[in-house]
Amino acid sequence: MRILGYYNYWVVIFLMMVGFYTLISRGNLVKKLVGLTVFQTSVFILYISMGKIEGGTAPIIMQGQHVVYSNPIPHVLILTGIVVGIATTAVGLSLVVRIKEAYGTIEEDEIHVQDDVL
C-alpha cells in the first residue's frame, strides 16, 4: 500500500501545522517564538527522514565491511540549520525582552494599540 509509505511526511506536516497555528494565532510574543521553534524542528525531521535508507546505518565508515550508509548530505544541512535556528531564537528572545521594556507588554494587540496612540 503506497499510502502507508508516506507516514513520515504526515508526522512532519502535523508538527508543521501545530507550529504554524501557534505562530499565527497566539498574541503572546514568546508563544509565537515557541511555535516557530516547533516549525523549525518539523522541517529538520522532514529532511532527515528523507535521507534514511531502510536497513542503513549511521554514515560513519567502518573499515572493510560492506554496509549501506544513510545519506549524509541532509545531516550536514540540518546541522547548520539547527545552529542557525538557535541563533535566530536567541535574537528573537532578546528582541522580546527589549519590546517588553519599551512597551511594558508582550501581547501583540496591546503593542499595536500603543503604536496607534503614539
Partner: protein, 141 residues
Amino acid sequence: MSDRVILRIGAKVLIPFILIFALYVQFHGDFGPGGGFQAGVIFAAAFILYALVYGLENADRVLPPTVVYVCAAVGVMIYAGTGVLTLFLGGEFLDYNVLAHAPEHGQELGIMLVELGVVTTVFGVMVAVFHAFAGRGRVER
C-alpha cells in the same frame, strides 16, 4: 545556603567531566558523532552550569565576559585565517591539500583547524548570550 550543598557538590564533581567530555567530542569528531558545534555547546554548558549554581559574580570572576567576546571573534578569525593561509600556500581558498606534504595529512590538519575555530566561536556565542540574558534584571513595569 545549606540546602544547596548537594547542588554545589554535584556541580563541582560534574563540571570537570563535562569539560573533558567536550574535549573528547571535539577531537573524536573525525571518528564518531561529534565535531565542533557539539563540543562548543557542551563547553558552554559546563560554564553555564557553573554560573547557575554558583552565581553570576563568581562566573564572571572565573571567565570575564570580555574574554568570552574575544573568543567568539577569534574563532571566526581562525576559520577564515585557515582559508587565507591556504591561499598564501598556493592553493585555493580553503583547499586543505596544500597544508602539509601529503593531501590526506593536509586534509586532516585543515579539518582540525577549522573545527577549532568553530568550537571557539560556538563556545563564545553561547556563553555570551547566556550572560546577556542572565545579567539583566527583571523588567519592571
